[in-house]
Amino acid sequence: MVRLEYIKKQYTRTRRVHGNWYLASYQYKFNVKRINQCLEHLRKGELVGLKCRSCNTVSFPPRLICPKCLKMPDEWVHLRDTATVATFSGTYAQEAGDTEPRPYPVVAIRQDGSDTTWLANLPEGYDFFKVYVGMPLKVKWAEDKKGDFSDIEYYEPIEDPSIEMNKKEEAEK
């Protein structure tokens, strides 16, 4: 590995004492009122978002409070099963079977019809270098649904006509 050299100063050592924190038993609370309704729909193979009547912001997964105007959203809207990549990055990791670290795509996805993003998954082993912002995706449902987020097995990349159109535009320039 390439090492970058920098000017280092040596400091004398003071005495060190070892200590541990065991961070194992906290009780986090969360309100399942909205999320459970959403998960029930996932079991049926439907996608629903929660819409704020005051500013029309749609959140998916549903949020209890509208982040824009602080009202309680209470209108359910159906969402399409397509989505776009809002942003992405890649973590370099060496999983079982890899000979050297390779990038795994991590994508934040915006479901079409909603105004929020969430971390979802692409197909296992999808090539990181093929991912781009604005990439269209389609939900791949799991075989047997359990009524939780694992019902969306992954997001399948679909054909993107805009690539051809952009190429044409470039060529015309």
């Binding site: 590995m1 390439v2 970058l4 050299e5 920098y6 000017i7 280092k8 100063k9 400091y11 004398t12 050592r13 003071t14 060190r16 200590g19 924190w21 961070l23 906290y26 986090y28 969360f30 309100n31 909205r34 999320i35 998960l39 912001t57 959140s59 997964p61 549903p62 949020r63 209890l64 409070i65 982040p67 824009k68 809002a86 942003t87 992405f88 990055s89 890649g90 973590t91 370099y92 990791a93 670290p101 990038p103 795994y104 991590v106 934040a108 915006r110 105004d115 929020t116 993003t117 969430w118 971390l119 998954n121 990181f128 781009y132 912002v133 359990k146 939780d148 987020f149 694992s150 019902d151």
Partner: protein, 415 residues
């Protein structure tokens, strides 16, 4: 209008990856001593002390119990502020408010971080654990989540911003490396910084492996031990303490969170991570207080909080200093260099030194020292107005301080 606050001094400790010779309290003390040495003010003149850091990183909660004596806070009003990455910026703003309100005359603002004590990973996990455990409850596969979270910590947010910024501006990895080279060269000329790399080149940086695409190992911020202290006082006192007071003419702290992680976390539903509305809003608020109408012309020096090089472009544009998507070009032309028209991060920036709790305050402190003409790596340009910016908190809190060598002329609006 409240009292006009002024900065009379700012001090640092030496920063390194492992300050093995001191403990937290002693580390904090070094910066305070440096700050007191730079002005005619003694610890007896201090009326109130404000302290901040990110406690989980050292594994010592309420660290001020340990260090009260070391920071001269005994028998004095004391306040503690912590807001994650912006802790330092918030401490600076708290000190500003303490003076502006008229309650205290002279306030000592202190912030530190000794990351070598403990585990940064644990510190960051304790921030996100509450939200992440909800995800696991809802059927999210643990292995996938672990991988996603690997890119979800600060570096991940930096990478998201970089991806979207590069898409907008068509800047290249070479442009990113150029920012790093400028910062590390500047750091080499500054006495207190961590990564002093006087001979580094763009090519060397582009040879290092990726950590999180498009950010390479050579581009990212280090984890440092270090501390920073500043002395805020009133306009009248300032002239007693120093010949070169710096006036704080506007501050702003704006949060506009972009929740990428949790299903029901707060967030404004910002889709594009490089949009950074909070930076634009905080700039508007702070410039208005300071009476700045044309930031690109009136501001002479900038310290931005940029652990990752792409952020430097982004902040300079969002804070109104460059036109949108033109920052990479300005770097290519040397506008932001030490002797350029708008020197940026002459201290080396967060990219070269990152003692998290202190980082955002070091931006304000450096901006003040550049106006005083006492900075470690002083720009040859005459500097009248400067800004110190901070980013962090829960992903997207922005702190901004506008400093000048003259008190503000006219003032409208609240403090």
């Amino acid at each position: 209008m409240g009292v006009q606050p002024a900065i009379v001094s700012a001090g640092f400790s030496e920063h390194a990856s492992k300050r093995s010779d001191v403990n937290m309290a002693e580390l904090m003390n070094e910066a305070i001593e440096d700050a007191l040495n730079k002005c005619n003010c003694t610890i007896d003149d201090i009326d109130c002390v404000i302290n901040g850091n990110m406690p989980a990183f050292e594994g010592a909660n309420i660290p001020e119990l340990w260090m009260t004596d070391h920071i001269g806070a005994k028998n004095k009003p004391f306040m503690r502020v912590t807001t994650g990455g912006t802790t330092g910026g918030s401490v600076a703003i708290a000190a500003y408010y303490a003076v502006a309100s008229g309650l205290y005359d002279t306030v000592l603002a202190t912030s530190f971080e000794q990351q070598s004590c403990g585990s940064t990973t644990v510190g960051l996990s304790s921030v996100a654990l509450g939200e992440v455990s909800i995800y696991l409850q809802l059927g999210y596969d643990f292995e996938k989540l672990r991988r996603n979270m690997g890119a979800g910590a600060a570096i991940g947010i930096g990478a998201y911003q970089a991806i979207n910024y590069m898409r907008r501006s068509h800047c290249t990895e070479e442009d990113l490396a150029r920012v790093v080279v400028q910062n590390r060269h500047n750091a080499a000329k500054n006495w207190w910084t961590h990564l002093k790399m006087p001979n580094i080149t763009i090519e060397q940086i582009l040879e290092t492996p990726y950590i999180s695409y498009p950010l390479r190992f050579g581009m990212v911020t280090p984890a440092s031990d270090g501390s920073c202290a500043m002395i805020y006082t009133t306009e009248e006192n300032a002239k007693k303490f120093t010949d070169t007071p710096v006036y704080v003419n506007g501050v702003a702290s704006v949060s506009n969170e972009n929740a990428i992680v949790a299903p029901e976390a707060s967030g404004c539903g910002q889709i594009d991570p490089c949009e950074q509305l909070s930076a634009t809003i905080s700039a508007k608020l702070a410039y208005e207080q300071a009476g700045i109408s044309f930031p690109e012309k009136e501001i002479d020096y900038v310290e931005v909080y940029s652990p990752f090089p792409n952020q430097e472009f982004m902040w300079l544009e969002r804070l109104g200093l460059f036109e949108e998507n033109t920052a990479p070009m300005q770097y290519r032309e040397g506008v932001t260099a030490l002797d350029g028209d708008l020197p940026v991060n002459c201290s080396g920036g967060v990219n070269s030194t990152n003692a998290i709790g202190a980082s955002a305050m070091e931006r304000v402190a450096e901006a003040a020292l550049q106006i005083m003409g006492k900075a470690g790596n002083q720009s040859p340009k005459e500097i009248h107005t400067a800004i110190g910016h901070g980013w962090g908190g829960t992903i997207n809190l922005i702190t901004l301080s506008v400093l000048a060598d003259q008190p503000r002329r006219k003032y409208k609006g609240g403090i």
